[in-house]
């Protein structure tokens, strides 16, 4: 069995889970200024029990990169050094602001709310910048930097979509109606972003171009963008249904948003495979020594099922609508 492939799959799952899970709580953070004080309290309650564990998927993703592909870890994170630092400062700000805003009053509370927003925004934007730099193979030049900034903005849109659809699921009444409007704006924004990355990536990399525009394979591959458009349409219809008061469909916009992310992720994975650093390092070149891989696999095989199980348990315990002050 090719263990490098197994770890690539595990790392992919971790990163995708991170993006969807921390994405919704980052999105909720970015939406905070658009809500009233009472609504902010509900929004915080909707992510309170989950955000710590959501963030852990990032550590697992980076940890697997470190353990299973040590030669790529240094290259990738070295090249992404400054945006990674900015992203981490953002994550620290919001993590601490999240805990502290609850305990503060008056202008202190406004300050922590502001920092919570700023941290959420910084983390999201710079994750997008990292993605933009990564898919273009860390090329330097104004065009590449501009592209990275655009991807950063798009990812903010994507996280807003996840956050808004999460709120549709976890809230009701006025806030839920607001969330529907936010979700629709987020969807438009994300559409723009996905289109941008889909067109931009083949333009900057010949490798990616050849993979996608190679007749007749292109025809089959076009199913991916087609499916994305279809899911986006479905998401829109579901928000309309929730607006009409069909409460049993409240979870679906979030599912649709998660599927959009999964499809975009699949597209990226197809573009890059088998490279960990495009055109430079393949996963086999970066793979850790077999002794490390085997030891790691034993642990992963035993532990990951438990992690999935108790993550589901936590979501089950905290199911249902969030209420103001519930988790403060």
């Amino acid at each position: 069995m090719d263990l490098a492939l197994v770890f690539l799959a595990l790392m992919g799952i971790s990163v995708l889970l991170y993006v969807v899970l921390d994405g919704y709580d980052l999105g909720v953070g970015m939406l905070m200024p658009a809500a009233s004080t009472e609504q902010q309290s509900v929004m915080v309650a909707s992510i309170g029990p989950f955000w710590d564990a959501n963030q852990t998927w990032l550590v697992l993703g980076v940890g697997l990169l470190l353990a299973a592909f040590p030669k790529a870890h240094g290259v990738v994170l070295g090249a992404l050094y400054l945006p990674a630092v900015a992203m981490l400062v953002g994550l620290m700000l919001r993590g601490v602001a999240f805990e502290l805003r609850v305990k503060a009053q008056g202008w202190h509370r406004d300050l922590w709310n502001g920092l919570f927003w700023l941290g959420s925004f910084m983390a999201s934007f710079f994750q997008g910048v990292m993605l933009g730099r990564y898919v273009t193979g860390f090329e330097n030049g104004f065009g590449f930097y501009f592209f990275a900034v655009l991807v950063g903005a798009s990812l903010c849109g994507g996280y807003v979509l996840l956050g808004a659809t999460w709120l549709i699921y976890k809230t009701e009444g006025e806030l839920q109606r607001k969330a529907i409007a936010w979700a629709r704006w987020g969807l438009l924004w994300v559409g723009l972003g996905v289109a941008l990355v889909s067109l931009g990536t083949p333009m900057v990399s010949a490798t990616v171009r050849e993979k996608w525009f190679d007749f007749p394979r292109t025809l089959g591959l076009m199913l991916l963008p087609a499916a994305t458009v279809a899911v986006a349409g479905w998401l829109w219809l579901e928000t309309a249904a929730v607006k009409r008061g069909e409460t049993r469909r409240e979870a679906r916009p979030f599912m649709a948003a998660a599927i959009i992310f999964a499809l975009a992720f699949a597209g990226l994975a197809y573009s890059l495979f088998p490279y960990l650093v495009i055109d430079r390092i393949t996963l086999w070149e970066a793979a850790a020594h077999p002794t490390a891989q085997r030891f790691l696999l034993v642990g992963a095989a035993i532990v990951l099922p438990f992690i999935f199980a108790y993550t589901l348990l936590a979501y089950r315990i905290f199911r249902g609508k969030a209420r103001a002050g519930q988790y403060e």
Binding site: D52, L60, L304
Partner: protein, 453 residues
């Protein structure tokens, strides 16, 4: 040393130093929380619930500080020490991943249940969540210290394909210094948490004399500290003997013993002069150095000069070691005095409360001093005998490192100030801080809770 190496070390030291303060507190605080929760369950006394609710919030805040600075760490292994990963990554990577997989997820997920789930799950599930968080924090320490100890005393590895790989994982994990270091750190965490718990409880009692929750909490914390203090003296001594066997240069440096000698004195105070290889203004106890280190009056101790260039810097080790031991002894004194003064329900006198409040964060100082001793003491090696620190540094430019150090330092300073302000504020508010004043027995509380859902 060139700039990139100095900056890379400064930055990593800043981050890891900031990070370790929070695990040092939360590892043992998690067990305290479990004890508070069980005490409430068994007695139904609301004082324990007040204590639990206050400390679970302080725990959550400390845990969050540890998580966010820990995420930074996971990035910096690759960015600051790329050749660490390419040369010993086959050992370090899996151990770090095991920590994330087995411990980190467990803590992060069940902390949510611990914090917010009391009214949503049955008592036994809530107590199980508290146990899993406590187990998770300790397991976390297990993996991290296994890797750290392996870097000090590597065993179980072979050179293969141009890198260091594991031949026997059991030997890698249970390397010679691991049991001592793990025990030393776990007890250190116990003392750190005990003094934070006792100190903030003292602070509460100064504000609200006779508060039932703070009185009980303080009593428990000083009793635990009174037991752990002497245990730490014993464990520390054993750890020292182990270090003398495996890393004699570290011992010579931290005791500032320049020349190999029998019946070496114990230097209580001095200003080590690295250039002239002697101690200025030394106050010494004859033979005590050999007695402590070898348990023999005339035991031989190798001097710094016998190691040539391969010895750690003397002054920081010598000072940090005395800070650590000094605080440790002060902790023993304070905890014994406090245990005696609060015997059979006596109220603690105000001078004692002020002393305990002043010592609230003494554990942090001792832990940081201890880690400086052990990490600086490993220099010039990153992994003893296998990889030198200067060979592991990457090619991040000095400018990038400088900019990011500034960013981190400002963020950490702001975080630390905010953290201290908030936890002292929470302790001052004490009982009022809990949202629904608890007066009911757990069983009724749960019924009321589920009715409210």
């Amino acid at each position: 040393m060139d700039d990139a190496l100095v900056l890379a070390r400064a930055q990593f030291g800043l981050n890891i130093g900031f990070h370790i303060m929070f695990p040092a507190l939360t590892i043992a605080l998690a067990w305290y929380l479990l004890a508070f929760r069980i005490a409430y369950q068994r007695t139904g006394n609301a004082a324990w619930l007040v204590t639990y609710r206050l400390w679970v919030k302080i725990f959550a805040l400390s845990f969050a500080m540890g998580v966010v600075s820990g995420v930074v760490m996971s990035f910096q292994f690759g960015t600051n020490w790329p050749r660490y990963m390419t040369s010993v990554g086959a050992i370090a990577g899996p151990l770090l991943s095991y920590e994330v997989m087995t411990a980190f997820f467990l803590e992060a997920t069940f902390l949510g249940v611990m914090l917010f789930g009391m009214n949503r799950v049955p008592d036994w599930v809530h107590i199980t969540a508290a146990s899993l968080v406590a187990f998770g924090t300790t397991l976390s320490a297990f993996w991290i210290l296994a890797l750290n100890s392996w870097m000090h005393t590597p065993t179980g590895h072979v050179q293969a394909d141009g890198q260091v790989v594991a031949a026997d994982w059991w030997q890698v994990i249970f390397n010679p210094s691991f049991p001592y270091r793990l025990a030393h750190m776990l007890v250190a965490s116990g003392l750190t948490a005990s003094f934070v718990v006792a100190g903030l409880s003292a602070w509460r009692l100064l504000r609200a004399p006779g508060d039932a929750s703070a009185t009980r909490t303080l009593r428990v914390a000083v009793m635990v500290a009174a037991v752990l203090g002497p245990v730490q003296v014993f464990v520390g001594d054993q750890h020292g003997l182990n270090t003398l066997e495996h890393q004699p240069a570290k011992i010579a440096s931290l005791e500032a013993i320049w020349h190999t000698e029998r019946g070496a004195p114990l230097t209580l105070f001095a200003i080590p002069d690295e250039e002239n290889q002697r101690n200025d203004y030394a106050i010494e106890l004859p033979y005590a150095g050999s007695l402590i280190l070898t348990h023999k009056m005339d035991g031989e101790i190798r001097g710094i000069t016998s190691f040539g260039e391969d010895h750690p810097p003397v002054l920081p080790l010598f000072v940090a070691f005395r800070v650590m031991v000094g605080i440790g002894l002060l902790m023993v004194l304070a905890s014994w005095t406090a245990t005696w003064c609060t015997r059979r329900g006596r109220a603690a006198p105000r001078w004692l409360l002020w002393s305990l409040a002043a010592m609230t964060f003494s554990g942090w100082v001792a832990v940081l001093a201890g880690w400086i001793v052990t990490e600086v003491g490993r220099q010039p090696w990153l992994v003893t005998g296998l990889l030198r620190t200067r060979d592991a540094v990457g090619d991040i430019s000095g400018a990038q490192l400088g900019a990011s150090i500034t960013g981190y330092a400002l963020t950490y300073a702001a975080m630390l100030v905010a953290y201290l302000v908030v936890i002292t504020h929470m302790a001052r508010k004490g009982a009022e801080a809990s949202p629904n004043p608890p007066s009911e027995h757990p069983a009724t509380a749960r019924v009321a809770g589920s009715a409210a859902d």
